[in-house]
Symmetry: D2
C-alpha cells in the first residue's frame, strides 16, 4: 500500500538519501555556483488540493539554472503560435550533452528541443523579439506563479555566467549562421543567464510549477497559465528531454516528467495530483542532482505514483 | 467531455485518418514488405476489464517488425538479472536513426537503448546465450500472450530480411569488436529477423501487450508476465525511445508509451486502462506509421487519455 | 619531353581550360565576392632565377581570401617558438569542410591545421597578442614580399565578411570555451577578414610566395623570410592540407603544394624552381577554383614537374 | 652539406634513435603481433642506381601489415580502369582513425582513400572479383618485386587477425549495406588478412617498393610495374594519407611519401632517387612506428632530401 503524503514521509526520504552526498560533484564551471554548500538538501510538494509539504532546506533559495528553460518556453507559448515556435526548435530527445554543437551543425542550426541550451537560446531569442523588457517580464511571471513578490535574479551568478559564456555564444552564433537567431547574441545571452540565475526555494519552485499538475491552471491563480493541451505537451517534453541525456533513465527510475538544473534543483510533476521540487547541489555525470533523483525515486515508490 | 469507447468511435477515427493514405511511403527495403497494400488500416483496443473493440482491417495479420523488440526485452528480463542486461545496453533516447553506427562507435559498442537495432541485437544475443531454441521460445511466448495457437513467422519475410542484412550485420560486428556480442553474428541475426517477421493482427497485438496496461498481468493469463515495476520500466522505455528519433514528437502528440514497426504497426499503452494496436503500412520520414500516429492522436483526444 | 616555360605556354593552357568556365560557381556568401565576373582567368609564374611569365588576367587584382592563411602563419612563425604555435593548432589534414565545428568540438578546441578556418583564427589570435597593429603589419609584410607599395585591403569585402561572420564567430567562441582563444573575438575576426580581403594580382601573388620555392629567401629580397626548414614545413602543410578536403585529390592531379582561396586564386610551389599563381573565380564543390586546378594540372604535365 | 649515403650513416642513425625504444607500444590486438621483441630496429635503402645499404635488423622479416595496402592498390590499378577504382574509393585524407566507421556512414559507404582499412577492403573486394586466386597472385607479385622466391604469409598471424576480425567485418558489412562491396565478406577478409600477414625484411621491402622511386620501373625488373603517371599518383596518396591521421605531421617532419604498418614497418620514397624501409615495432598513438619515423626524419636531414 502507498504511504500517506506528509512532512514526516519527506523527512524520512531525505534521511534515506543523505548518505549519497559526497558521491556527486557541485557544478564548478563558475565560481558563484561552486561556493554552494554540498550539504544542502530540501524537498517540497504542492498538491492540486492546495496542500503543501516540505522537509530539509526547502525554504532556502538556490539558483534554478535550467529549470528556468520550462518557464521561458511557457512565456514563448503565450506570445507565439505553435508553428512559429516549432519550426525553429524540435520536440525530440537530442541524445547529446546539453551544450553540444555537433548535432546542431549536422541539423542545420535547428535544436532538437527547447530544453537543451541551443533550444532554450532560440526561445530566448524569440522572447527578445516580442518583449520590450524580457528580464523584467520573466520576474513578473515567476512572482505571480510563486505568489511571492521578492523573487529576484542573483546578478552575481548572472555576471559570472556571462564571463564564461563562450560555449553558449558559440551555439548562438552557429544558429545565427543558419539563420535561426535574430537578435544580438550578447543581449540574448544576458537574458538567458539572468533566467538561469533566478533564485527560488523548493517551496517556491513546487508552487510555481503546480499549474503543470493542474491542466495549466493552479488553484492559487485566478487565470490559467496555459491550456490543458499545452500542459500535456510541456509535460511530454519534460518526460522525453527534461533530464539532459539521461531522460530515459529518469523515466525508468522515477516515472514522472521532470526538469533539472545544474544548481541541483529538479522539478517533477504527477499530472492531476502534485508538483514536487527537490534540491541537492551535487550532480551526477549527466549534470542532474544525484541525491535529488534518488529522493524522487524513493518518493515515487513510497506514494505509489508513476505516469507509467 | 470524453467520448465513450466503442467500435463506432474506432470506425469514426479510421474514417478521419484515411485521407492521409498516400502521404507516406510503404517500407521497401525488402520486396516482401513492399508488396503490402498501402490501403490497409486497422485498429484494436483491449481494456483491462476484458473488453475488446476494433475497426477496419483489425483482423488481418501484418509483419510486426520492431514491435517485437519489446517482446524480446520482456523475455530477456525473465532470463537475466537487471545488472546483466543494463550494463550491455542503455535506457536513454539515442537521438539517431534506428540503424546508425555513429553513436555506437563513439560509445564503445554499448547501444543507447533496447529499441534501436543495436540494442535489440544485444538483447537477441542474450537470448541466444540462454535459450536452446530462441525462435521457438518466442513463438510460445507470443502465442500464450495473444491466446492464439497459430501465430507464426513469415519465413519469406525473414529470409528476405536476411538477404538484406548488411547494415545489421555491420552493427553486430561493431559491437563484437567492442566485446558486447557473444554469439555467432549470423545465428543471432536469424533469430532477430524471425522475431521481426512475426505476423499478428491488430486484435492479436492489442491482446498480446495488454499486460503492459495491467501491471504485468493480463486478465486472460493465469500468471504474471513481468512484475509491476518491470511494467513501469518498459512503459518508460517505450515513452522515451519507442518511436525511433521521433519519440518526443509522439509523446507530445499522443501522450502514451508506444512502439512502432516498419510494417506499419504501432502498439500503445494507457497504463491501468488499455492497450491499443493500429496498423497502416505507409511510414513517415522517421519510419513510423503516418496514419497510425494520427489515429492514436485523435483517439487520445476523443477519449481524453494521456499519461501527461 | 617537357615543354619550355614561356608566356606562349601559359596562353595555351588558359585557352585549354577556358571551356570549364560555367561549370563551377562563384562564391556568393557575401555580395562583394558574388559580383566578380566569372570570366576572369589568369596565371603567373616566378622562377628562382628571377624570370616571370604570365597570361590572361594576370595583372588584375582579386580577393586572396584563404591564400592569406599562409601569410599569417609565416608572420606567426616569426613571432613565436615552434612549441607555442603547435600546441594550439595541429599539422594534420582535417577531413572536414573548412568551416566545420564538429571535429573542433570532439578534439577539445584544437584545430587540425592552420589552413582551416579554426586554425587560421588561432593564428590570428596569436598575432593579435604580439602585434600592436596586426592589420598594418600584414600590409607591410605583403608589400615587401610582393615588392609592390600599393597593396591594400578591400575594405568593402572585409566589411561584408564581418556582416556574415556568424560561422567564424561560432568557431572562435567554441575555441574560447576550450581555452584556445585569448583575445576579443570580434577584434580578431576584424583582422582575419582584412587579411582575407587583401587584393593581389596573379603576378603579385606569384612573386609574394616565391620565397617558398627558394628555401625561404626570394631573389628579390635582401633577407630571408623564413628558414629553409620552415619553408619545407610550410610546403608540407600546403601539400597535405592546403586545398580544404580535396588536398589528396589535388596532390594526385597536380603534385605540388598549393593553397586556394574562395576568391578563386590558388598559389602552388615547385620547390627549388618556381611559384605559380592562378585565378578563376568559379569554384568546385570543395571551394577550390575549378579552372585553376585544371590549369595547374595541365601545366604540371606540360613542364614535367611534380614533387612526386 | 649533406652527408654521403652509406652503411655507416645508417648505423649512426639507428644508434641515435635506439633510446626511443621503450616510449612506444608494440601492437597487441592480436597475440601473434604482441610477441615480437620491441628491441628490433632495422633500416635499408635501395637507390635507383642499384645500390643497397642497410643497418641493424634489416635482414629480419616482420609482418608488413598495412604497408601491403600499397601493393593491393598497385595490383588493382593493373586490373581496373581509373574510373572503376575511384568511383568506389576517394583520394583524400580521412582525418579519422584508420578503422573508423563514423565517416564511412556519413559518406554513404565510400571510403576516403585506399590506405584506411575501409578503402583497402574495397580494393581487396575488387581483386576478389577479377582474380581466381588473389592470395597466390599477391605472392607472385611481391616475389617478383623483391626478387626473392621464398616470401610467404605468416599464416599464424593471418589466422589470428581473422579471429579478431570484428571491426573490419563491421566495416565491410557497412559498405555492403551501401552497395559498395560485392563479394563474400569473410572471403575478402581472408585475403586482406593474408596480405597484412606477409613477411618481409627491410632489405626486401626497400627493393620491393623501389619502382615508386623509378617512375614505375625498378632497375632489377625487365618490365614496368606501373606507368610514370600512376607512380606519381601513388606517391601523392602516400604523402597525403599514408600515415593514418598523422600524414600531415609525417610530411612536416620527414618530407617524403610514406606508408606505415602496425607491424612497425614504414616504407618511404625519395622520387627519382631511392626507396627506404625502416622497422621498429613500437608504435606511437596513431599506430606508426615511433623510432621508425624518427630515423626517417634524421635521415632526411642528414642526406638533405625532402620533396618540399
Amino acid at each position: 500500500m502507498a504511504t500517506t503524503l506528509d512532512n514526516g514521509l519527506l523527512d524520512d526520504i531525505l534521511h534515506q538519501v543523505r548518505p549519497l552526498i559526497g558521491r556527486g560533484k557541485v557544478a564548478d564551471y563558475i565560481p558563484a555556483l561552486a561556493e554552494v554548500s554540498s550539504n544542502k538538501l530540501g524537498i517540497a510538494i504542492c498538491t492540486v488540493e492546495g496542500d503543501c509539504f516540505s522537509a530539509g532546506d526547502a525554504a532556502e533559495r538556490f539558483s534554478v539554472q535550467s529549470v528556468s528553460k520550462v518557464l521561458s518556453l511557457v512565456v514563448a507559448m503565450g506570445l507565439y503560435d505553435d508553428d512559429e515556435i516549432w519550426q525553429r526548435v524540435g520536440k525530440d530527445p537530442s541524445g547529446q550533452p546539453f551544450n553540444s554543437l555537433l548535432q546542431l551543425e549536422l541539423e542545420q542550426g535547428k535544436p532538437r528541443n527547447p530544453f537543451i541550451n541551443a533550444g532554450a537560446l532560440v526561445v530566448c531569442d524569440m522572447l527578445q523579439s516580442r518583449l520590450s523588457a524580457p528580464k523584467q517580464r520573466m520576474l513578473e511571471v515567476v512572482r505571480r506563479l510563486a505568489g511571492v513578490d521578492d523573487l529576484v535574479y542573483d546578478t552575481r551568478v548572472a555576471r559570472s555566467e556571462f564571463e564564461h559564456a563562450a560555449r553558449n555564444a558559440a551555439i548562438a552564433w552557429l544558429m545565427k549562421s543558419f539563420g535561426n537567431f535574430n537578435n544580438d547574441v550578447m543581449t540574448v545571452l544576458q537574458s538567458y543567464f539572468h533566467y538561469c540565475a533566478l533564485k527560488m526555494s523548493c517551496e517556491e519552485m513546487a508552487k510555481t510549477f503546480l499549474f503543470l499538475a493542474c491542466q495549466g491552471r493552479a488553484p492559487h491563480l485566478d487565470t490559467p497559465v496555459i491550456t490543458p493541451l499545452q500542459t500535456r505537451q510541456i509535460n511530454a517534453l519534460m518526460a522525453t528531454s527534461g533530464m539532459y541525456e539521461n531522460s530515459g533513465e529518469f523515466a525508468w527510475r522515477v516515472g514522472m516528467p521532470g526538469k533539472s538544473g545544474v544548481g541541483g534543483g529538479i522539478v517533477a510533476i504527477v499530472p492531476h495530483e502534485m508538483s514536487i521540487a527537490v534540491w541537492s547541489p551535487e550532480l551526477d555525470h549527466a549534470g542532474n542532482s544525484l541525491a535529488g533523483i534518488a529522493a524522487l525515486e524513493i518518493l515515487a515508490g513510497r506514494i505509489g505514483r508513476s505516469i507509467f
